[in-house]
């Protein structure tokens, strides 16, 4: 039961101090003082440029001269130009390599090393698989473009195991340039997914696994009925982060293939850069950027909804 003491502060029966009533002016002021610096930086570097992009997307402007109001014409071009539609399609193809492969492999590895987490094997696995995350994407792109070269490591390996007919210039091949580049992204993102999933899996109560085993569950059943539900949040984070990386990819594409051959590996990130700075079509570039942002939000909204905290 709450009582007001002589000094006016709220205390319960045992004399413990209760929190101040929400809404007292001083606590609100303190909250604002703490929030303001971060909010100003966020507004200045994220919200204001976003609003400016929306404004630019309605213009026809070369970045230097006079700007002309263009209405929604830029958006019409983005939605109807076949090249731009193919470019947007390429980024969705990348989602398979950047998301499905790292999350799938990550789940497999996390399940496999679950019981060896503390030992040297578990630590070594986690370290080695996380290292690609530490490397700048540009360096990874350069290293991989050497490995994919005609005389590079990948082809040397294929020739060594007798798969001579599979050896080719991977990043210059019309069919395999996009998958090859997707594998670079998968390699980089695998470490992040493993880190998150391994952390999550250690939080799952081991007694659940014991109970499952006592009920006669095999490894696959354990995975399906204990691991997966327990990792719901972590999977949601992994999928969200990797989808964003796939749809907004730029560094790897710019370094590895420059968008070629043809436009088979051009992605919206790269095309926005080219439209704005090579073509000097700031309006069209901004429209493509806004469309990309909407596509990203539309893609991760279901993921977030599906893996949201369920009320217990």
């Amino acid at each position: 039961m709450q009582v007001k003491t002589a000094s006016g502060s709220n205390r319960n029966d045992q004399g413990k101090r209760l929190p101040r009533k929400k809404g007292s002016r001083k606590s609100r002021l303190v909250a604002w003082v703490f929030i303001t610096p971060a909010a100003v930086v966020y507004a200045g570097f994220v919200l204001v440029p976003l609003l400016m992009s929306v404004y630019y997307s309605l213009l026809r402007w070369d970045g230097i001269g006079k700007a002309r109001f263009n209405g929604l014409a830029n958006y019409v071009v983005v939605m109807t130009d076949p090249d731009l539609l193919q470019i947007i399609g390429n980024s969705f193809l990348l989602v398979f390599y950047f998301t499905v492969i790292p999350v799938g492999l990550g789940l497999a590895v996390a399940s496999a090393i679950r019981s060896h987490m503390g030992g040297p094997f578990g630590t070594a696995t986690r370290t080695i698989l996380f290292l690609p995350q530490v490397i700048p994407l540009v360096a990874a792109g350069i290293a991989w473009s050497w490995m994919y070269a005609n005389s590079g490591l990948v082809n040397q390996f294929l020739r060594a195991v007798g798969l001579e007919s599979w050896a080719r210039g991977w990043l210059g091949d019309f069919t395999f340039a996009l998958p090859a580049m997707g594998m670079i992204g998968a390699w980089v993102l695998l470490g992040l997914c493993i880190m998150l999933l391994v952390t999550g899996i250690t939080k799952i109560d081991p007694s659940l696994y014991e109970a499952a085993r006592l009920d006669g569950a095999g490894a696959w059943d354990e995975f399906r009925y204990v691991t997966l539900p327990g990792l719901r949040q972590e999977i949601g984070v992994c999928v969200t982060v990797t989808i964003i990386q796939a749809l907004a990819a730029f560094d790897i594409v710019y370094i590895a293939t420059g968008g070629g051959p043809g436009i088979n590996t051009t992605v919206p990130g790269l095309e926005i850069y080219r439209l704005a700075f090579a073509h000097r079509q700031v309006g069209l570039a901004s429209a493509l950027a806004i469309v990309l942002m909407i596509l990203v939000l539309v893609s991760i909204a279901p993921v977030q909804w599906f893996t949201r905290e369920r009320k217990q």
Binding site: G258, P261, G262, A278, H279
Partner: protein, 113 residues
């Protein structure tokens, strides 16, 4: 008027026509020594890529088919027209006529934007 313009003109002419100079051009630069099409190309290692590109260069000169270095094009048409279409042609997905049509169409699209 700069000094020694006659010397400069003589040198540029010499680089493209003198036999020794053409040998240095090919050996050090690996490229076509230029100059009149009827002058002999200095010998290179048989079967090398240099030999093949020099022979192709001779054909070009005789057919009067040479054009400016495509990287000298404006950044936009280079990135959106020349580069992807040349890659498609090298990969067998585009004909030379189709390449020129595609570049022309890209040029017209860019002018209209």
């Amino acid at each position: 008027m700069p000094k020694n313009t006659d010397c400069a003109a003589f040198f540029l002419n010499w680089v493209a026509t003198n036999e020794e100079a053409r040998k240095i051009n090919v050996a050090v630069g690996g490229s076509n020594p230029g100059g009149p099409a009827d002058l002999p190309i200095p010998p290179v290692e048989p079967g090398s890529v240099t030999e093949a590109s020099l022979a192709a260069g001779q054909t070009l000169a005789q057919d009067n088919g040479a054009m400016d270095f495509i990287a000298n094009a404006t950044g936009a048409i280079f990135a959106a027209g020349w580069t992807p279409e040349l890659q498609k042609m090298a990969g067998g997905q585009q004909t030379p006529e189709g390449l020129l049509d595609a570049v022309q169409k890209e040029y017209e699209t860019e002018l209209s934007r």
